[in-house]
């Protein structure tokens, strides 16, 4: 038993419960206090994560290495950004409750457990903890029928995906004799070849995780849930809860199934191509910015999957950098979307952004930076993510993937440019309500990161490189 290795998760979980207790016992509204505490706890956890050594604990159920540390820091960063940006939105939407940051923290605990999973059971536990918290969050505006619908939809479909994942896990267990990643890895090296049952198990595991990633063909829930859920929750769903399933997918594919690349690579390639195509073409017709972001995130997952499909260490490095830039851009874009409200009402049509550059040049410029970055225009941060995953694809000789990737990014450019066009070229309508300071902080911080990432990207790329190397041992 090596409890110290799980110190970050333990601290985060206990603090989340402590904050919950604090909120329950106080008679006055303590949302702000709980939010501040949540941010502080995340920061402390991040420090603990950095300090964790590389080892396994709990009889091999739990692992800590450079890969898990990188993922956890990313998850915590995404959580902090979303906790901060939800504060003002929730209070203006009158859904401000102290449970909100607590649920986010609990979800973060689940995600951190996922990224440290060294056993299929640990993986599943983490995944469920993360998902349960997000179900509640999606339905958080309980008096709003769309939010309730989004919560229910997400719950039902996600439960189905969990079922698929569990079925895959049971098959993998049945055909390899173990839940443990390293034992499965040994079992699949059987010279007699891979059994069909195991291949089916891998396919089910990929399907379950692809659902959480909202990769095609398991993406159907994404636009509806993104649109229906409160924007603060949508922001959260598009950041950290995308990172965790992805790093789990990486760990599972390169850990236990690292020797049977040929079995899963074609599936990933297909999912990746389908996601890139759908993400770019289906978004063109959208008029709601939250739905647009949903399709955009489907597309982004497709690009990130290019790195996984390459099946190499450079590919994993590319994915990790991609996820980093994606989390920052996504949190930034949503901090701008959250700021879209007129006369106290939240608006979410693209047309509502009309002429924003005249009323609020700062906000328009920031959103334009995120849009250009998501389109992958250099020198913004998003370009580096794309560059590295395509580099991995080219290095692995996967030209089809690379060519489809760059061409769909031209298509996706069209709808990102449309947002910029609406903001900068169209006539202005009534200005938005005054932004809160917390929102401006998130937007400016993420905007600055996106804008000047290119100046000194070496430390981030170095960390991603180290994490990727840890995965390949």
């Amino acid at each position: 038993m090596n409890w110290a290795l799980a110190a970050p998760e333990l601290v985060l979980a206990v603090s989340a419960l402590g904050i919950l207790l604090n909120g329950v016992l106080r008679t006055r509204d303590s949302t702000i206090l709980c939010t501040v505490l949540a941010v502080a706890v995340c920061v402390i956890t991040a420090v603990l994560v950095i300090d964790t050594p590389t080892a396994t604990a709990f009889g091999g159920l739990f692992v800590s290495d450079a890969f898990s540390r990188y993922s956890k820091l990313l998850i915590l960063a995404g959580t902090v950004l979303c906790v901060v940006l939800s504060l003002d939105y929730n209070s203006r939407q009158r859904i401000s409750r102290f449970e909100f940051p607590v649920l986010m923290l609990l979800s973060a605990v689940g995600m951190m457990v996922m990224s440290s999973a060294n056993n299929l059971m640990t993986l599943y536990m983490g995944l469920e903890l993360q998902s349960l918290a997000v179900y509640v969050l999606a339905a958080f505006a309980r008096d709003d029928i769309r939010s309730a619908e989004a919560g229910l939809k997400y719950f039902v479909l996600s439960a189905l995906a969990s079922g698929l994942l569990l079925y895959g896990i049971s098959l993998a267990y049945g055909f390899s004799g173990s839940m443990d990643f390293s034992r499965i890895a040994q079992a699949v090296m059987d010279p007699a070849g891979v059994s069909a049952g195991l291949t089916v198990g891998i396919a089910f595991i990929i399907a379950g995780l692809a659902f959480k990633l909202s990769a095609v063909p398991f993406h159907m829930w994404t636009p509806d849930v993104y649109e229906g859920a409160p924007t603060s929750v949508t922001a959260f769903m598009s950041t950290a809860p995308k990172v965790a399933p992805f790093v789990v997918l990486l760990r599972v594919m390169f850990g236990p199934f690292g020797h049977v690349t040929a079995q899963w690579q074609p599936i990933i390639v297909l999912i990746s191509i389908a996601s890139m195509l759908l993400g770019s073409f289906a978004a063109i017709a959208q008029t709601n910015i939250k739905r647009l972001m949903a399709y955009s995130s489907i597309g982004h997952m497709g690009y990130a999957l290019v790195g996984l499909a390459a099946g190499t260490q450079t590919g994993v490095r590319g994915v990790l950098v991609y996820l980093l830039t994606y989390v920052v851009m996504s949190a930034g874009s949503f901090s701008c979307i959250v700021a879209m409200r007129r006369r106290g009402l939240a608006v979410d049509k693209i047309a509502d952004l009309s002429g924003l550059a005249r009323n609020d040049l700062t906000l328009a410029t920031l959103l334009a930076i995120f849009m250009f970055s998501m389109a992958g225009v250099p020198p913004l941060a998003g370009f580096f993510g794309k560059l590295l995953v395509f580099q991995a694809a080219v290095d692995a000789g996967m030209w089809t993937l690379a060519i489809i990737g760059v061409l769909t990014s031209v298509v996706s450019c069209f709808y990102y440019l449309r947002v910029i066009k609406v903001m900068f070229f169209d006539a202005s309508v009534a200005p938005f309500d005054v932004r809160s300071r917390s929102l401006s902080v998130v937007a400016l911080a993420t905007g600055a990161f996106t804008l000047i990432f290119f100046v000194y990207p070496a430390p981030f790329l170095g960390a991603a490189n180290q994490a990727a190397r840890a995965l390949f041992g």
Binding site: A357, R358, L361, F372, V377, P378, P379, F383, L387, F390, Q391, V394, D395, W399, A402, I403, V406, L407, S409, V410, C413, F414, L417, I420, K421, F424, F425, F454, P457, A458, L461, G462, N465
Partner: protein, 512 residues
Amino acid sequence: MTNINAAGFPVLSLTTFLPLLGVLVLATLPGDEAASARNARWIALWTSLLAFVVSLVLWVRFDHRAAGYQFVETISWLPSFGVSYRLGVDGISVLFVLLSTALTPLCILASWEAVTVRVREYMAAFLILETMMVGMFSATDFLLFYMFFEGVLIPMYLIIGVWGGPRRVYASLKFFLYTFAGSVLMLLALLAMWHQAGTTDITVLLRTPFSAVMQFWLFLAFLASFAVKVPMWPVHTWLPDAHVEAPTAGSVILAGVLLKMGAYGFLRFSVPMLPLASQHFAPMMFALGVVAVIYTSLVALAQEDMKKLIAYSSVAHMGVVVIGIFTFNVQGIDGALFQMISHGVVSAALFLCVGVIYDRIHTRDIARYGGLADRMPAYALVFMLFTMASIGLPGTSGFVGEFLVLVGAFQVSLWLALFGSFGMILGAAYMLYLYRRVIFGKLSKPDLRAILDLSPREMAVFAPLVILTLWLGVYPSSFTSFFDATVSAMVQNHTEAVNLARQPVLFAGSTQ
């Protein structure tokens, strides 16, 4: 690993990033709309002038005899990827850096009164554009080059889209998507070359041998990107739209500098790095060049919109440049480079000429003008000079470039030279036709009677361009001497590479 060039200070970095400093100042400009607009103009002008003065160091200190990169700067950027921040200029790029820094202040001066809304953002966009252009011409690392190359799109998209004409949204989107689609294919070529060489250092890539098959595909990927930028027929259609809708200064930069990016790319990457494929594709490039020259000249003849006419003439002139580049002899490439510089000055000036009367009458319709010579003698004179330069009259800049290209083309094929020279004849036709309809004839339109001649500010804009046009035409060697050494070395390397590849076929009789 930091290495600063022999000039004693990082002249290229300074020229590249000085405008960004101006952008920072603009961003923090206080005051109401009118006051900040006035200040923004002056700040932008002084910043761009300062950048120009700094870049003059290149003109003075450039070693004309050396073929390699000069003023080299290297800063470690992504060491584990083999990517560094590397700047440097050789004979091919040095004049384009100077062209960019020279045209930007003129553009700002030309927009002084024409742009009245969101002046601060407009000036900031132009300064960012200058950074991107200068950075692109002085990057000696492929990835860095790519970042600047693509980065140009952002400010240009906004300049066309925000300050453009009625169909600006369509034009800006078309401009962006055309160029972006081409560029991403070049990105794949970059990745393939990076994979093989392990670095994106252009000097290393030049020495890296690529197999003939790989060169074939790389050439096509580069072609996709550069052909759109040049622009070559049949992917030129974004250009007339972009030119017509862009504000005057936007057209000036577009014609003066951005169109050179494509041809520069051919000279920097396609020809020296892919000699076999370049040789293989040369006939196709000639064909596309000839089509561009003849077809777009005919299209230009039929135009009713002044800007569109000059835009099509740009396509034709750039067709001549493409022909020159792929002759692979010193005269042809020298001519292409000279034509690029000359076109940068002359087409920029022609768009400014259109801008002058557009600012007064607010139409670009040729039929709405006529007889301007009566009321605007100075303007008529200036316009005449640039018309002649565009036609290629001896003594103006246009003549030298076209003549050299034709000499180069003649060495390749008589027919090529013949078809290429059609461009000069047709060019004379459409330019003189334009000039006659706008300047000569009877001044019959009532609103033209009160039109004013060039203002002192406009004269200040035109004066340097007039001097440059005549200087280029009368004493070309002060410019050709910059790139003679580099071009000679390039042609020699090309010939050697092609001969080397042919040898095994000659001796062993084997097929490749």
